[in-house]
């Protein structure tokens, strides 16, 4: 890559050159969840486990939406695939024969260790994403986003109707569960890998295309190929998160992987700030705390009165709307948390490059629904 190219890529956003401080991110996640697992009551451990998995989904979303700037409304389909593949593989054989006698072929007598099922879940999601991505990656971003949404709607029908394998709307139960600590370890590894990937040259080029797709193309960045690459890798992360979901909850059903989870995880990403890994993690923490606060209010533990049912969902929707209106780049505004580095300005002696804020002025190529300013 020419010097000019690397300059542009590294100056994409002042203070944004590095993908944040890995040690700090990991420390925060492991400390919060470790404390919850160690000292928490049973219900707190359950809440913490679920939120950990939601965080993994949001990190998966960040890998594609955050780095490429293209939205996807169907990533929960990959979570569902991961969950079902891992879930079916993790039912003990004896149970399987009794509860799911209709399960076809090799599925009926296969059960694997949790880590094999976990990897299978991620791989299945990755393969589906590769097939979908190869079909959509040349489409305008808006069409690709809506096509993934159609994928989610269609997959939901399949999960509900393909009773022999998925047990229909009732879902799959009796999945062998794993210790929350194992889930924490897996998520920590996922964060490390995602952090590593977002430091690679390809990821920087992708982020450059997010900031200015025309300039990125002009210097020879193959935007579509990079988007496809990040689409597949983010789907793998989502599939792993889905597998962890099945393995920690023990029960899955189609309605768990549909519009509410789509909105919840997108809300976490947008609230935290979609263009940084810190934002993805922060957003999932903030939304979890906020929704737990409201849930306590609903059950009457918090206030002298009870908040009406559904207040939690209402509160999440309102928070998302407020952030979209008043802080459209999210709480972190695209900043990564850096320790021991200058957060502003560039150290190559050049003045900071003026960049448009991604949400309001991000250029979208050919008919992606963007109106020229």
């Amino acid at each position: 890559m020419s010097r000019f190219t690397s300059n542009l890529v590294s100056r994409v956003r002042p203070g944004h050159r590095e993908p944040g401080n890995l040690g700090f991110l990991l420390l925060v996640v492991v400390a919060i969840w470790g404390a919850a697992f160690m000292f928490g009551t049973r219900s707190l451990v359950d809440i913490a486990t679920l939120s950990l998995i939601q965080m993994a989904i949001v990190i998966g979303l960040y890998m594609y939406i955050g780095e490429s700037g293209v939205f996807s409304f169907g990533h929960i389909a990959f979570v569902a695939i991961g969950a079902y593949v891992a879930g079916i593989l993790c039912i003990p054989e004896a149970t399987k024969a009794v509860i799911y006698p209709d399960m076809p072929g090799f599925l009926s007598n296969t059960s694997t260790p949790w880590y094999v099922a976990l990897l299978a879940g991620g791989a299945a999601a990755g393969i589906l994403a590769l097939v979908v991505g190869l079909m959509t990656f040349r489409s305008p971003p808006m069409n690709a986003a809506l096509a993934t949404f159609a994928l989610l709607l269609g997959l939901n029908v399949v999960l509900e109707q393909w009773s022999a394998v998925t047990n229909g709307t009732g879902g799959i139960t009796n999945i062998e569960t794993i210790d929350p600590w194992l889930a924490l370890a897996v998520v920590a590894i996922v964060i490390t890998v995602v952090w590593f990937i977002s430091g690679t040259r390809q990821s920087r080029m992708l982020r450059a295309s997010r900031e200015d797709v025309f300039a990125a193309r002009a210097i020879g960045i193959n935007v579509e190929r990079l988007r496809l690459r990040s689409f597949v890798s983010s789907a793998v992360v989502c599939g792993l998160a889905g597998a962890l979901f099945a393995q920690t909850q023990g029960t899955i059903s189609p309605s768990l992987f549909f519009l509410p989870l789509t909105l919840l995880t997108l809300a976490m990403l947008v609230i935290g700030g979609q263009s940084s890994l810190t934002g993805a993690i922060l957003g999932s923490v903030v939304v979890t705390v906020w929704s737990e606060f409201l849930a306590r209010g609903e059950s009457g533990d918090l206030f002298p009165f009870e908040l009406p049912a559904s207040s939690t969902q209402l509160g999440i929707g309102l928070l998302l709307l407020l952030v979209l209106i008043f802080r459209p780049d999210g709480l972190t505004r695209g900043w990564e948390f850096l320790i021991g580095r200058r957060r502003r300005g560039s150290d190559d002696g050049l003045p900071p490059m003026q960049t448009a804020t991604p949400v309001s002025r991000e250029p979208v190529p050919d008919g992606g629904g963007e109106r020229p300013d």
């Binding site: 293209v70 939205f71 409304f73 079909m135 959509t136 489409s139 305008p140 971003p141 808006m142 069409n143 690709a144 986003a145 809506l146 096509a147 159609a150 994928l151 709607l153 269609g154 997959l155 029908v157 399949v158 109707q161 393909w162 519009l259 789509t262 909105l263 997108l266 809300a267 947008v270 009406p308 049912a309 559904s310 207040s311 969902q313 209402l314 999440i316 929707g317 309102l318 998302l320 709307l321 979209l324 209106i325 459209p328 949400v359 309001s360 002025r361 991000e362 979208v364 050919d366 008919g367 992606g368 629904g369 963007e370 109106r371 020229p372 300013d373």
Partner: protein, 293 residues
């Protein structure tokens, strides 16, 4: 022969209903690049307004209209106006959020149990035309859709405001620079979608006999599907897509059986996926590739 005619009539009725769901989505996409998933919640609001004022008989439609226009304008003011310059995906997320808020507000206020009611029982009775039994509901659904097509065509072709709206759909910023009041055009567009939501809610609740907070999800997804099949942003495409969807639904119902019927909706979404990827201008090619009206 009779069953064939019956099937065609039910396909037309279903297509008309889908067109009433799809037109608002196509209209707002044309004017402001917004795929308004909160439209389902306008239908829900209209449904509850009809339910609350059910004792007024058909006058409850007016109550629903007022309520729905107010909510539509409020949604626009709160969720969409601050983001008008944002890209389509951000608007879409905002419409998801607005839809989520309104739906959960309804859960908070009305609870999750469906409320059964019927405004006009006589509509469920059938009349015999040339030996074929048709319910008034079916006749009125088809008729009101046709009335809407004519009204919208007259509005967009013959009135100044309609021409301004088409100009805004063509190039929003250019239209603004030529002195077209953006807020007015968008407010009118939202009011039209509110009126369409009331029409849709009326026939939907008459068919199902009940209203619940989640009633709006299916119509908005159907409307979205019809709009995509017809080509995003084209009103004619949306209508054609809606009748195509209605026809296919009835056709699948008649022709397919058992397992395949269970997966019917998955097939439909598969078609949507392929259209979006391979033919973004719609199956009929009525929309230009950029999705302009």
């Amino acid at each position: 022969m009779d069953t064939l005619v019956q099937d065609i009539i039910s396909a037309l009725a279903l297509g008309s209903l889908y067109a009433i769901y799809a037109l608002p989505i196509a209209l707002l996409f044309g004017v402001m690049r917004l795929i308004n998933f909160a439209h389902g919640e306008l239908i829900m609001v209209a449904g509850f307004a009809l339910y609350l004022s059910r004792d007024l008989g058909l006058a409850s439609i007016l109550v629903a209209l007022v309520a729905c226009v107010v909510v539509a304008l409020m949604t626009e003011r709160v969720a969409f106006r601050p983001l008008r310059d944002a890209n389509a995906s951000t608007l879409l997320i905002s419409s998801f959020a607005a839809s989520f808020v309104l739906q959960n507000l309804a859960f908070v206020i009305f609870g999750s149990l469906p409320k059964t009611f019927s405004i006009a029982d006589w509509m469920l009775e059938s009349v015999s035309i040339w030996g074929i039994d048709v319910s008034w509901l079916v006749i009125l659904t088809i008729a009101s859709a046709l009335v809407w097509f004519v009204l919208l065509a007259l509005f967009l072709e013959r009135t100044t405001l309609g021409i301004k709206m088409r100009a805004a759909a063509e190039d929003f910023n250019m239209a603004r620079m030529c002195g077209i009041p953006a807020n007015l055009v968008i407010a009118i567009a939202f009011s039209i979608t509110a009126a369409l939501a009331v029409t849709g809610a009326f026939f939907l609740t008459m068919r199902s006999g009940a209203v619940s907070p989640s009633i709006g999800i299916e119509p908005v997804v159907l409307g979205f599907v019809a709009t995509v099949i017809g080509g995003l942003g084209s009103l004619r495409g949306a209508i054609a897509g809606a009748y195509l969807l209605g026809g296919l639904t009835v056709l699948f119902q008649v022709m397919l059986s058992g397992t395949i019927l269970d997966f019917r909706d998955a097939l439909v979404y598969g078609v949507v996926f392929l259209v979006l990827v391979l033919r973004p201008e719609g199956i009929l090619g009525t929309a230009t590739p950029e999705g302009r009206a």
